[in-house]
């Protein structure tokens, strides 16, 4: 495969070659491409040119910015379930904490019926709307509306003037303006206030309840509507300050704009990029806790925690735990601790380590694990907040993809295939198709494999040896084999010891595996001894940086990127991440003030 890749590169760069030789190369290259396009296909072409302070390739290596493109087309999206619930919670802010709890509990039965957002990698991609959304939103709107008009909530939520029966027109109109601002995320126009007031009057004794409910099922509440901007070129809108405030808010806070953002929109501060940058700086200080939560959400979606398996509850897993010295049974608590660590590592390098950058994320050795069993797996003490982080044995682990949460398989056997696919998809942003069920069944039915006397690496190799499997697994397996220095619970294998168990959980064989493998990174084949080395190589290539930028760009834009129109934005953000002094935090901030984020291109 590497030869064919090399042939492609030779063809690409071989303008000085003779035509016939180039065609010969093209023959090999085409064959390779046919295979390579099916799996391991780079979604985005890159060259091997490198530069920059981190020794990583320049932005142009990964992002081809076409002149005069600002941003790709985007579709109007509804609020995600998380955004919707956070926004409702923020709308409850005026009422007392105990009442807020009571109201949250009151809507809980309905919120449970609201469909989850699970189409695509990011929740924000999911734009499906079903009758369950509609019904649940209505139910919640009325539970909410009925509760806030009751008791002490009434004056807290609406203002004391609403205690007069009937309230004055001024009182109701003031409420419409104030609640409308939060609800529409922009000031209401006079005609909108008039319409809402007329509606209130027309509903008679239930006017106030209906008014609140109508706001809560209004399209401007349920959707991210961005239609008010100036159209500076056909179908390209410059977002208004209030639309920018809303975008920033849902990007960083996953909820409606707070006072800082509304004020910035009202004052015109969000009318310039420098103003936006300044507001983001303030936001990252004032709302660090909430932004930390958002970054944690992003991490869980980037790494697709939803597909992370639970631990199998069987004697083999338990026996492995016993053999490697893990206390207790591998369970959901351990799984949660493992995944939480991944979020906390991203958070640590974003917030707690000054100028923590993506290379730190890929190579860093800090341990801030507070769970005793997970710390035991790493062989380090548990960390106490406020104390300096512990350090992992550098030869055993470095970076987020050598942590247990990235490695564990959930069974007593490692899963090089899953690990390899994750590296390809989430670290390199290359494409890899899922195998058909028939291919999987074929592989699993192979009777010739000696499961007892062969290492998992050898078994996987044999299982995927057929030509139809090898099409993809030639790419996948090497990445996965690099992690064979860890067992399936995420522990480091001393002396590469791999245990085999019978159905009663007895150790029936002990084998020696290895994690040395040849991997292709940016079209360059590198021999690595383990995942630590492999991830360092990947990090040095810059490709993972680019992939990380792509992922956050997707998260922010609520859609997959379109390289023909989104590359300029991603290029700028990549440059920020990899510049001297660039950091994870600066990259997260850069997204919010990038041109691609402050403008919208309407589809045809």
């Amino acid at each position: 495969m590497e030869l064919f890749l090399h042939a492609i590169n030779m063809y690409r760069s071989g303008r000085h070659m003779s035509k016939s030789f180039r065609y010969t190369l093209l023959f090999f290259a085409t064959s390779a491409v046919l295979i390579f396009q099916a799996c391991g296909k780079p979604l985005h072409s890159s060259s091997s040119s490198t530069s920059g302070s981190l020794g990583t390739p320049t932005a142009t290596a990964f992002f081809k910015c076409s002149p005069n493109t600002i941003v790709g087309e985007s579709q109007i999206k509804r609020l995600t379930k998380k955004e919707y619930l956070n926004t409702l919670s923020d709308l409850m802010a005026p009422i007392a904490a105990s009442e807020k709890t009571a109201l949250t509990q009151a809507i809980q039965s309905s919120t449970a019926l609201l469909p989850e957002d699970n189409v695509g990698q990011y929740e924000r991609y999911d734009s499906r709307i079903s009758i369950n959304h509609i019904k649940t939103q209505y139910d919640i709107a009325y539970v909410f509306a009925k509760r806030v008009i009751l008791g002490a909530n009434r004056s807290a939520f609406f203002g004391s003037c609403m205690n007069t029966t009937p309230p004055t027109a001024t009182c109701v109109r003031t409420f419409i303006s104030q609640f409308g601002l939060k609800n529409f995320r922009r000031p209401l126009q006079q005609a909108e206030i008039d319409e809402m007031y007329t509606f209130y009057v027309g509903r008679g004794t239930t006017g106030l309840t209906d008014l609140v409910a109508r706001f809560l099922v209004h399209p401007r509440f349920l959707y991210h509507i961005e239609t008010d901007g100036i159209e500076f070129s056909p179908r390209e809108l410059r977002l208004t300050p209030y639309e920018i405030a809303s975008r920033l808010s849902y990007l960083y806070l996953q909820s409606m704009p707070n006072t800082l953002l509304f004020s910035a929109a009202a004052s015109g501060q969000l009318s310039s990029i420098s103003g936006v940058q300044s507001v983001i700086d303030q936001l990252f200080i004032a709302d660090e806790a909430r932004i930390r939560t958002t970054i944690e959400s992003y991490t869980s979606e980037w790494l697709e925690f939803k597909f992370k398996p639970g631990f199998a509850n069987n004697v083999k897993v338990q026996s492995l735990a016993n053999v490697v010295g893990l206390t207790g049974t591998p369970d959901n608590n351990l799984r949660s601790a493992m995944l939480k660590e991944l979020q906390e590592i991203v958070s640590h390098y974003t917030w707690d380590q000054p100028d923590g950058n993506f290379s730190d994320l890929m190579n860093g050795d800090v341990s801030i694990v507070q769970d005793a069993r997970l710390a035991g797996i790493y062989g380090v003490p548990t960390w106490t907040p406020g104390q300096p982080p512990n350090r992992l044995p550098s030869s055993e682990r470095s970076g987020i993809f050598t942590r247990a949460g990235s490695i564990y398989s959930g069974t007593e056997k490692t899963s090089p295939i899953h690990y390899g696919v994750n590296i390809i998809r989430k670290v390199l942003c290359d494409d890899i198709p899922n195998p058909t069920q028939a291919i999987i069944d074929d592989a699993l039915r192979d009777p010739t494999i000696d499961y007892v006397n062969k290492t998992q690496r050898e078994i996987v190799h044999e299982m995927t040896a057929s030509s139809k499997c090898m099409t993809c697994h030639k790419v996948i397996n090497p990445y996965g084999f690099a992690a064979e220095s860890y067992d399936s619970l995420g522990g480091y294998r001393k002396n590469f010891m791999e245990y085999k168990f019978d159905t009663s959980g007895n150790v029936i064989n002990t084998l020696t595996t290895n994690s040395t493998t040849d991997v292709s990174i940016n079209n360059r084949v590198v021999t690595v001894n383990n995942a630590v080395q492999m991830n360092a190589e990947i990090s040095n290539s810059g490709k993972a940086h680019a992939c990380f930028v792509r992922n956050f760009y997707r998260f922010a834009q609520r859609r997959a990127e379109d390289d023909s129109t989104d590359s300029c934005g991603m290029q700028r953000i990549y440059t920020d991440l990899t510049r001297p002094g660039g950091s994870l935090k600066s990259m997260f901030k850069a997204m919010g003030s990038d041109m691609s984020f402050l403008n919208r291109k309407v589809g045809e």
Partner: protein
């Protein structure tokens, strides 16, 4: 027999089923349509506490009250100013008895001070619900007992639909520790349905045992469906969506997404346009109390009170009745005679606190937990009328502390503290605790009107009773009221202001 402490929980579970039944059914009924203009018939819950004096512990502070002149339209009447203020929460609550736990209900509470009974009679049983002749039976043989307002409402024509078939007109319950002083608190015609015959204490239906009460109220229970016609807000919401769908900067894909939403809304609207019925399932019965005594002793009093409240709440929810009265008579009457300077006053104060903490808070919480079809809680749609026997000192027949919860579905302006005593000192020589105020009669009329009665429904003269406390034929004295010279004995040196009170009119500011 040992008392089963799980009884309350079991009953509540059963009651919860009934409670759940409505939300479940109302979830079929359009919540979005719950805002319909549904007519909710108000309920009345009268609670009598035969203790006093409690006034200072009962009422909020007078700070911040402003004066309002009443009777402005009647030039023949003197200047009469009353004081009022809106209730606002404080950390410790508005008063000792109604402490911070009542803060959540302040907008639904109405404290009334300065409402007098025109007859001095020491112990006021039925007097606080309207039968002012219930005091000291036999002291005034020339006056016939009057039906109390609970009974008048329960048997008023058209108070219940279909002539009241299938309804329990009224619930009379209580917890009475001293029957020797049980002058009673609820009175009615011996022939209730015909509204005729001698007026008697409602012993025949009085219940103190929650289980017995439940059996009598829910005997032959048939769920009563309520038809609700919806007028959903969907039309307006559809319009909101269409405006954006057809507006600027919308792609064909956006249009499609919004159109999907519109289609689903239309689908929802279709399901809303149907008429829906509500119903109620039979709650589980509470277990019997161990003994037959009306007062089950200090240990079980709380349970007894709250189980009775549970039954009343269930009966309200299931639309079996609209009227309940509760005699909260936990301690011995001897405590009534304690005065503020007495050493035992703290005991009386504690007893009063027990009442508000365990009985009043319990029922208002229950009523407020249930949201009805008009979007208001049952408490909003009800009138909980709490009244104490004595005014500022023991046996005082004036300024009985009163408190209303709820507004009878908007019929009463709640969230206020109103002092009806004449505030303009020049016209009243006896300011302070003995200041004269307005008659309680006006409160009874106010309540009955809020419950939907018209003067004809409570015109006792037309029912053959010469003396009426509920309506006056003139705008001055109310000629059927006893005159001061007949029975007035308490403050003979006072120019009593209440002749200016007009018994048949609603209380000012409510």
């Amino acid at each position: 027999m040992k008392y089963n402490r799980t009884t309350r929980r079991l009953f509540l579970q059963g009651s919860g089923h009934a409670l759940l039944a409505l939300p479940i059914l109302t979830s079929l009924l359009p919540r979005y349509a719950r805002a319909q203009a549904t007519q909710i018939a108000p309920r009345y819950y009268g609670l009598f506490m035969p203790y006093g004096p409690v006034q200072d512990n009962w009422h909020p502070s007078a700070t911040g009250m402003t004066r309002t002149q009443i009777f402005p339209a009647y030039s023949t009447l003197p200047v009469y100013e009353i004081a009022s203020k809106n209730l606002t929460a404080t950390t410790s609550g508005v008063s000792y008895l109604f402490d911070q736990k009542f803060n959540a209900f302040l907008s639904k509470m109405t404290f009334l001070k300065g409402l007098d009974t025109r007859i001095s009679g020491h112990h006021y049983g039925g007097a606080v619900l309207g039968n002012i002749w219930a005091i000291r039976p036999g002291d005034y043989p020339e006056f016939t007992s009057m039906p109390t307002i609970d009974h008048i409402m329960a048997y008023a024509p058209n108070f219940y639909p279909n002539g009241g078939a299938g309804f329990v007109p009224q619930i009379v319950a209580g917890i009475n520790s001293d029957m020797n002083h049980g002058e009673g608190f609820s009175y009615g015609f011996s022939n209730s349905k015909a509204r005729s015959g001698p007026v008697v204490h409602m012993d025949s239906i009085y219940q103190h045992n929650p289980k017995t009460l439940f059996d009598s109220v829910f005997a032959g229970f048939q769920p009563r469906p309520t038809t609700v016609t919806s007028t959903p807000i969907i039309d307006s919401v559809l319009s909101d969506f269409r405006k954006i769908r057809d507006g600027r900067a919308i792609s064909s894909e956006d249009k499609l997404a919004l159109q999907t939403h519109v289609d689903l809304l239309a689908q929802l609207e279709q399901s809303l346009s149907t008429t829906t019925t509500l119903s109620c399932t039979l709650p589980n019965a509470p277990a019997s109390l161990p003994g037959t005594q009306p007062y089950q002793g200090p240990t079980n009093a709380k349970l007894q009170v709250q189980l009775i409240n549970d039954v009343i709440f269930a009966a309200f929810r299931c639309q079996i009745t609209r009227v309940a009265s509760f005699n909260l008579h936990v301690q011995h009457y001897s405590k009534t005679h304690i005065h503020e300077k007495d050493a035992e006053f703290s005991t009386l104060r504690g007893n009063q606190k027990w009442n508000t903490d365990n009985a009043i808070f319990d029922i208002v919480q229950k009523l407020d937990s249930f949201v009805e079809a008009n979007g208001k809680t049952m408490l909003d749609n009800s009138i909980v009328h709490c009244a104490a026997a004595s005014g500022p000192y023991s046996h005082a027949q004036y300024s009985h502390p009163s408190l209303l919860f709820g507004s009878g579905n908007g019929q009463i302006k709640s969230g206020q503290f109103i002092d009806y005593r004449m505030q303009n000192a020049a016209a009243n020589k006896n300011l302070g605790d003995t200041s004269t105020g307005l008659l309680q009669n006006q409160l009874w009329v106010t309540i009955m009107q809020a419950m939907g009665l018209s003067p004809a429904d409570y015109n006792m003269a037309s029912l053959g009773l010469l003396r009426s406390v509920y309506n006056a034929s003139t705008d001055t004295y109310g000629e059927f009221m006893p005159s001061a010279s007949d029975i007035y004995e308490a403050r003979d040196n006072v120019r009593y202001a209440q002749p200016q009170s007009i018994a048949g009119r609603k209380l000012p500011l409510l």
